[in-house]
């Protein structure tokens, strides 16, 4: 009998009460307060901050309050930047990214030390197809300002993924560099399962899992998983995505016990990326996830 897991919760706002509180405040009458709080979240790290920005930018209910706020306060830098990210997320196409770009040029010109502005530019570089070296330029600028930006590391990895048949050297170098000095519990260890999931996805269009089951891949996944779980994750927000990647990659690699460990840490939470990528193996994954969560309840 297969155990079904709990209904997945993908929305970071539902997973983290502080993010839900921020979203409610922004969309229900106190956008200035939410913007103030948004900046404060950033004190915990630029990478965590963008998770909060993304929660707001994904919300359709933000449009009205944000438009009204900008009409009254056209110079509010945080609101202008949020409007750029909102435009990208609402449109989710090249045209939307292009429209945001022009405002971003100005925002970065006004303050080139604003890590979040560079992060949004990194997002638009990919969405608008601005070219690999421009994407890297933005990434490097961001890394100068926020060396621990794990979300940027993941974005850059995705940008480096070659077309089918292409070389993976750059991606491997990127992951090696990012994990070389990463401490235990660092979200940067999540780049390892992400790399192998991306490579599996590109090189195994039929969905067969042979690639992930190779001994050297399993060994890399195991080592990275050990390092990631050896200490509490330095970013609770980032942990959801990293645990999901590990859970999915190790399950597909046949490392069921390790996968359960990560699903257990997630509880009902999941990040959509890897979960969607492995949609063809959903039933197997649900089984592992269900068993993990059930075991977690028993403990």
């Amino acid at each position: 009998m297969s155990l079904a897991g709990p209904v997945p919760v993908f929305d970071p706002g539902e997973i983290f009460p502080d993010l839900e509180e921020l979203r409610t405040r922004a969309t229900e009458g106190d956008l200035p307060g939410a913007l103030e709080r948004l900046v404060a979240i950033g004190r915990g790290g630029a990478s965590d901050q963008v998770t909060a920005w993304e929660v707001l930018a994904e919300s359709d209910a933000l449009d009205g309050p944000l438009t009204a706020h900008l009409a009254a306060h056209p110079d509010d830098r945080t609101a202008r930047l949020l409007a750029c990210l909102r435009r990208v997320r609402a449109g989710s196409d090249r045209a939307a990214a292009l429209a945001a770009e022009q405002d971003l040029v100005r925002l970065v010109a006004e303050d080139r030390t604003d890590a979040t502005a560079w992060f949004v530019r990194l997002v638009t570089a990919g969405a608008a197809g601005l070219g690999p070296s421009e994407t890297r330029r933005r990434y490097e600028r961001l890394r100068e300002l926020a060396p621990e930006h794990s979300v940027a590391q993941r974005l850059m990895l995705r940008a480096l993924v070659p077309a089918p048949g292409g070389a993976w050297d750059e991606v491997l170098a990127h992951v090696r560099l990012a994990t070389a000095d990463a401490p235990d519990g660092s979200p940067d260890w999540g780049l390892v399962p992400l790399l192998h999931l991306m490579r599996w996805h590109v090189e195994s269009p039929a969905g067969e899992t042979d690639y992930l089951r190779q001994p050297e891949v399993r060994s890399k996944l195991e080592e990275a998983s050990e390092r990631f779980t050896a200490a509490p994750c330095t970013s609770p927000y980032a942990a959801v995505e990293v645990h999901t990647d590990f859970a999915v990659a190790t399950a597909l690699a046949g490392q069921r016990g390790r996968s359960m460990k990560h699903f257990r840490a997630l509880g009902p939470a999941l990040a959509p990326g890897a979960w969607e990528l492995a949609a063809a193996h959903r039933a197997d994954l649900e089984t592992v996830r269900g068993a993990a969560v059930a075991e977690g309840r028993r403990r």
Partner: protein, 516 residues
Amino acid sequence: MSVTETTVDGIPVFLADRDDGLCSGGLIFRVGWADETLAVRGLTHLVSHLALHQVVVGDPHQNVEIHDRYTHVYAQGSAQQVLNVLNGVCANLQQLPTHRIALESDALRAEEARRTEERRASPLLRYGAQGYGLASFPELGLPGIDADLVQLWADAAFTRENTVAWLAGEVAPGSLKMPLPEGERSTLPVVTSALGRPPMWFRDSTTDTLVVSGVVTPGPAAVVYTMLLGRALDRDLLDGDRISLSASATLEVRDAEAAVVTITADCLLQRRGGALAGAVVDAMARLRWGPLGAAEVTYAARAAAETHRAADATPDAARRRALDRVLGLAPEQPAWGPDDFVGLTPEHVRAVAEELHATALAQLPDLGLDWAGWNQIPMHSPRTVTGTEYPGRGYSDAVLVLGEDGVMVRTPRSRSTVAFDQVAIMQAYEDGGRWLVSTDGFQVQVEPTMYEVDDAAIAAIDAAVDLARVVRLSARRPEDLPRPRDTTPEQDAAASPEQRRAARDRRSWLRRVTGR
């Protein structure tokens, strides 16, 4: 060191000291290639070479330079050597050795072939195939220039009213002999515009160099802006992201109302793919909107004023004063001096940054700038022609259309039109080939080997084009005639994207600019 002014033979002469025992001097004529039409492109250069005949022989210190608005004959050496050159040129201009036209034309064509610097499409796209836009073209008019035209041009342009001289060192101005004819003072070339909605960009993937140019108001603010922009490029492109090996911003005063800022930056091989354009856009944006303190501007202004003062203290100051005078930039005094840099504010500098952005034209080695809100240069003629259609030969999908008011080549992807009343040049080969360039820069090649055209069609084109725009050329060798496309559309489709893009860019720009 001060510059003084005197007059010899009715011509102003600016004088400066020189303390190294050498002498130098020059004649600056208010005529340059921007005064020509494309059909006589090279005429000023040819006249200058004829004027130098038996005056200067292979000495790098004595030569002639043809610029857009002026021609500069200069010499350095002993007082006698300098006088020999300047007086000799003036004497030759009275009776040019026109029997040497063919020889000198060949020499100029060889000079063109040896050019190492590429001709760029930017001037053509900004100004069209006329005036300042002729910088994009080689000297296409040379084969059609005859003795009458040469002397006519010399008499009209190389006159007393259009000439200013300068001398530096121990050379007596009274020894100059400049019996130039009287004439009308020439106005500066008309500034034409072919640029639609700047800021604009175009791609030339045959080069790794990015070039951005724009027109600003000349003056100390433009000088300081260019200096700050150069520093920003240094910081971002060379030191910071290490995108380029060289990056610079220059300022050239065009006339009393306009100066051209030009950004030039190359791209390291491993940085291809958009970063160069991104970094330049950011550097430009920072001077429009970024933090710019009064102290930073004041410091740069002081440095610029010092540079200005230092330049004023060199023998070259006489040449610069002469140039200002001949261009009408400063009838009595220098256009601006070191003291004018005092009191510049960030707002002055930002105003220049806005001007540059509003008039900018970028040549990019790859990708585009639509993301930054810049518009792509149109690749199709705005005009169409209706009339008789002549299909392309071979696998070509192009159609030549000949109407009463113009000629057009149309493919499923493009359209290039030349209206007969807008012809900048028509090269007419004895073998029947015709190459027409419109003043807006679009071109049409009418080739019997490429299209199913007959003699009557060629005759109709000849009858419709102004003779003053026609350059007649001898028949080409059969192996040099253009051939119909010998690849099928399927083979074209199989080419890599890079091959296709390179081929497209080459067709669009190089052939458009050079005719090759």
